[in-house]
């Protein structure tokens, strides 16, 4: 199966890659979106004082 990879995708906020699989007729058989990025705000915000969170979670996205 032929694969077309778009890596990375650009001009937007965030990290990502798209893989497009083509069948023998050259038609799109399936498409996978992959996010190769995890920082873990879900975890490391735990244990931080609540009043500090506005200055931490603003770093989830700075765009």
């Amino acid at each position: 199966m032929k694969r077309i990879s778009i890596d990375p995708f650009t001009r937007l906020e965030g990290h990502g890659r798209i893989d497009i699989f083509l069948n023998d007729a050259g038609e799109v058989a399936n498409v996978y979106l992959r996010i190769p990025e995890l920082r873990g705000f879900e975890k490391f915000c735990e244990g931080r004082p609540v009043e500090e969170l506005p200055r931490i979670v603003t770093r989830i996205c700075g765009v």
Binding site: T10, E37, K43, G47
Partner: protein, 317 residues
């Protein structure tokens, strides 16, 4: 002078550093006069294969922002290092680990568990976690390996200069454009920011530094004229490099240290602890216990932006 070939990349970051480059405002035109962009995912459509096809040292200057916390990010850091004459660690994450390196208080398994299983917004009854290799009907899909420990850029490749800040402020970016336009580069390893600690640049009134208790920011409304530390608020000024223009302090918020340690200091958190210990009125063991109780989340505060770069590096577990 031939135009410089400029690259910018985001690793484990928020995109704020990329936007900070645009905060040059009208000087962005000056940057466009001296440099052509050859790679910058947020702004232009070049792919990794374009970078791989470049000869070594093809890029004159690479502004690398973000920490390094996956195998892909380490690969791209090494690729860009090989292709770049100058590699600049741009922003607190690339320089010191930044906010993403707060993850070094935990490990990969805990982060995965929380993000993909425990978090209340998840719908993942089979507890599926991301795998580095997944077989699907069409073939195999790869994902980078998430590291246990978040790294700084210079823990992975050599960085020529360091530009601190979360994000670097306009004045700092002006310094970079001036350096690039003049072609007069600072010595290798230089930090492009102030050579002083933030306290030395802060214009608040400073009197005797002696405090009897620490307040959390919501417990008092601080006097806007007086030193925040003297009012009992933990302000990272003594342990932080200047150059940010005191942005937080000017709006009555204590510094959290995003410009990293001042010159001569290796460990920002230890420096802050030392500063606090010397001004806090401790007479006995009770005093020590009080200080410990009042300095809530001391490690997460003193190392807010620099855990990966610190002597601690991570929590031992």
């Amino acid at each position: 002078m031939a135009k410089l070939k400029l690259a910018a990349y985001w690793s484990a970051s928020c995109g704020g550093c990329d936007v900070a480059i645009l905060d040059l405002h009208e000087r962005i035109l000056e940057l466009a006069n001296i440099a052509d962009i050859v790679f910058w995912p947020i702004a232009v459509d070049f792919k990794y294969h374009h970078v791989e096809a470049m000869p070594d040292k093809f890029i004159d200057v690479c502004l690398f922002n973000g920490a390094v916390r996956s195998s892909e990010q380490e690969h791209i850091a090494k690729l860009l290092r090989a292709k770049s004459k100058l590699m600049i660690a741009y922003g607190a994450c690339a320089c010191f680990g930044g906010i993403p390196s707060l993850a070094n208080f935990y490990n990969r398994a805990q982060i995965m568990e929380r993000a993909y299983i425990e978090a209340p917004t998840n719908d993942n009854p089979n507890h599926i976690l991301p795998q580095t290799l997944t077989t699907v009907a069409e073939g195999q899909l790869e994902l980078p390996e998430l590291y246990d420990t978040v790294k700084t850029l210079s823990q992975v490749v050599e960085a020529d200069f360091f530009v601190p800040g979360c994000p670097p402020v306009r004045g700092t970016n002006d310094q970079i454009v001036d350096v690039l336009a003049s072609g007069e580069l600072p010595p290798k390893g230089a930090v492009i920011a102030s050579a002083k600690a933030l306290c030395e640049e802060c214009t608040r009134k400073k009197e005797e530094k002696k405090i009897t208790r620490i307040y959390r920011p919501f417990e008092i409304i601080p006097d806007p004229e007086k030193c925040l530390l003297e009012q009992g608020l933990i302000c990272m000024g003594p342990a932080t490099r200047g150059g940010c223009g005191s942005k937080c302090i000017k709006v009555n918020m204590p510094c959290r240290g995003c410009y990293g340690p001042p010159p001569g200091v290796i460990d920002q958190g230890a420096k802050m602890l030392s500063a606090l210990a010397s001004i806090y009125d401790v007479k006995d063991d009770d005093g020590i216990e009080r200080l410990k109780a009042e300095a809530v989340d001391a490690a997460g505060t003193f190392y807010r932006f620099s855990l990966a770069d610190s002597l601690l590096n991570r929590k031992r577990m």
